[in-house]
């Protein structure tokens, strides 16, 4: 947790990113999203496909491509609004100040260059090392992310590496320029569970050694429990609940969060799972009310009429749900 007086490493305020639909309307993929990440803190961003979590990440590094655009809001890194920077300054931020780890290393790594070359090139671009020194540093970085035989592996092309090694190489690339924030978007989703465990342990290790702040995007609550200090739950472009990780697991306040937790196999006894009916709305398809209302077991009158605003239920724990607004709560349906 960070005290209100200090500047958080990353502060996202009222971020809104829209996509132009075929009919000319703008639909918000990210809508009024606000969160802070303190120094050395990891915020887990949980959501299903289409919830807007990846667009949030791309908005932070300003890589939203057309027909999407950032419509409004602020993204402050160490107090500086990234949305005001020109493209040249932004290029310096990407890679140098913010490193990224994506789900699919084959997308982030260039197939025609060796991984050692790519790491050395990143160091050179940011003016940190050149030539033999950069190549030597690349090998050090591969060693730091526990790539076995790093000097030899540095000369390999991405396709010559296994999925786990490629993900390690991408982590080496992400931390090469000594960033303060790492954005990891589903970093282990394509990996087997044993390799996933190794990569998560590596990320924890790197985070501690380099005092990194981290935005960790995942759909897996197990990974959240293992990695996050605080959690933001996204649904249909909005953060519907935000809390310290212990608190979120012990007392989830939003019906969607409760539904997600209940739908994990093993959460309930018996063979049947607890499902959330319906499906995630497509972008631009949510109605005027709470986007989760059509699937919500607890919906009541106001839910279909307008979107709930943010209610603070406890220190650092807030939720967008009428059930948690004391004045709105229907009698006998509130939860203690």
């Amino acid at each position: 947790m960070i005290s209100p007086s200090e500047t958080p490493r990353l502060r996202v305020e009222h971020l809104r990113t829209v996509f132009r639909l075929a009919d000319g309307r703008d639909a918000a993929a990210v809508d009024d999203v606000s969160f802070d990440i303190g120094a050395g803190e990891t915020l887990g961003l949980v959501g299903e496909s289409g919830s807007g979590k990846s667009v949030t990440a791309l908005s932070i590094i300003r890589l939203v491509s057309a027909p999407g655009r950032i419509a409004s809001g602020r993204v402050e890194l160490d107090g500086r609004n990234l949305l005001d920077l020109d493209e040249g300054a932004m290029r310096h931020v990407r890679g140098r100040r913010i490193g990224f780890v994506f789900q699919e290393p084959m997308v982030a790594l260039d197939p025609v260059y060796t991984i050692g070359y790519q790491i050395a090139e990143t160091l050179a671009v940011h003016g940190l090392a050149r030539g033999a020194a950069a190549r030597a540093r690349a090998v050090e970085l591969l060693d730091a992310v526990r790539v076995p035989d790093p000097a030899r592996r540095a000369r390999d092309y991405p396709h010559q590496l296994s999925g786990g090694l490629r993900q390690r190489a991408m982590i080496a690339l992400a931390i090469a320029a000594d960033p303060t924030l790492v954005i990891a978007d589903e970093p282990t989703t394509a990996l087997d569970v044993t390799v996933q465990a190794e990569i998560l342990e590596l990320l924890r290790d790197m985070r501690r050694k380099l005092s990194l702040s981290m935005l960790l995007i995942t759909h897996d609550l197990g990974i959240i429990a293992m990695m996050a200090d605080r959690v933001a739950v996204m649904y249909a472009g909005r953060i519907v609940e935000q809390a310290p990780v212990d608190r979120l697991f012990a007392a989830p306040a939003h019906p969607y969060t409760r539904g997600l937790m209940a739908s994990i196999p093993g959460a309930q006894p018996g063979r049947q799972l607890t499902a959330i009916p319906g499906s995630v709305p497509a972008i631009g398809q949510a109605g005027v009310g709470c986007a989760f209302a059509p699937r919500c077991p607890d919906r009541f009158e106001p839910c279909g009429e307008r979107a709930p605003s943010i209610t603070v239920v406890d220190a650092g724990h807030d939720v967008r749900c009428f059930l948690n607004e004391p004045a709105m709560r229907p009698t006998g349906r509130g939860r203690p």
């Binding site: 044993t194 996933q196 342990e201 759909h219 293992m226 063979r271 607890t274």
Partner: protein, 292 residues
């Protein structure tokens, strides 16, 4: 009890690296695998990518031809069947694929997709088939009026329901579920899993459930087989596999599952690949087999 499906010494080799003029190496995707599944049972097959679990499912259906071994389904010697007999046998052996986005023909109306097996096997009259399709839509929780729509008009979960409706159209006794929910959103996965459980109860289905989600397998399977490098390393009732695993690889695999309790560190049990031996399964306790 006679098993519904009995697989003995199944082997599937694929040509590996090699040149045109060099002898090919072979990769043994399935390496002498034996197991049997009882009627009404849900038998889980778990393992990491490349362990051979999908290949086993495909060999049973002869979507790929096994190199050797025996597959008995009821009294049928599946691997000895000619093409016409195999088509007949497929009435009773069906599969639900992983990806509901690529496994449905985008140019066909979903009603026709579900009707196709009925047409191929010349079941009922045209009207009877149309009625059966509507009935199947209801059975899997879809609106029968949607039969005229195309796959892209449905969400991933609904598409997987269409895949399930097609698989059960011929009233099969064994359905191979190959990662049936791994492409779906978490909140929708449970709907499809519940549908499969419900259909099993109502139609007396037997499932070979191939998955990498260990929590899910624990929840819904009666027995579980763990695969590693083409071999079965452990076969036991689901709870036993998860509470008292015997094989070193099973222990390592289970120890890598993240806990759902915040702040709890994984106590991982390492597995040294070099220690792996091709031991045969032996019964370490009644119904609990391990390759040690």
């Amino acid at each position: 009890m006679t098993p519904l499906l009995d697989v003995r010494h199944l082997v599937k080799e694929f040509p590996g690296r090699g040149g045109w003029f060099r002898k090919h190496d072979v990769v043994c995707a399935v390496d002498d695998v034996s197991f049997s599944i009882g009627t009404g049972e849900t038998f889980g097959l778990v393992g990491e990518s490349g362990s051979g679990k999908t290949t086993i499912g495909r060999c049973v259906l002869r979507l790929v031809e096994p190199t050797s071994g025996q597959v008995k389904f009821k009294d049928l010697d599946v691997l000895a069947l000619g093409p016409r007999e195999m088509r007949q046998a497929r009435r009773h052996l069906q599969i639900v694929f992983q990806d509901p986005y690529s496994s449905l023909n985008p140019r066909m109306r979903v009603g026709d997709i579900v009707r196709e097996p009925l047409t191929i096997h010349r079941i009922g009259t045209r009207e009877e088939r149309a009625g059966r399709v509507r009935q199947l839509f209801e059975l899997v929780g879809l609106d029968p009026n949607d039969v005229v729509k195309y796959p892209h008009e449905f969400s991933g979960g609904q598409r997987q329901r269409i895949g399930v409706a097609r698989a059960i159209a011929l009233e099969p006794s064994l359905v191979i579920c190959d990662e049936p929910v791994s492409a779906l959103d978490v909140s929708v996965q449970a709907q499809v899993v519940n549908l499969l459980i419900d259909l099993q109860r109502r139609l007396g289905l037997t499932y070979l459930f191939i998955a990498h989600d260990l929590r899910l397998v624990r929840q819904i399977c009666d027995r579980v087989a763990v695969m590693y490098r083409g071999r079965l390393v452990e076969v036991a009732p689901a709870e036993r596999v998860f509470t008292t695993p015997v094989h070193a690889y099973t222990k390592a695999l289970l120890s890598a599952i993240p806990h759902l309790k915040p702040g709890q560190k994984l106590e991982r049990i390492p597995f040294d690949e070099r220690s792996f031996t091709r031991a045969d399964l032996r019964e370490v306790e009644a119904g609990h087999w391990a390759a040690i």
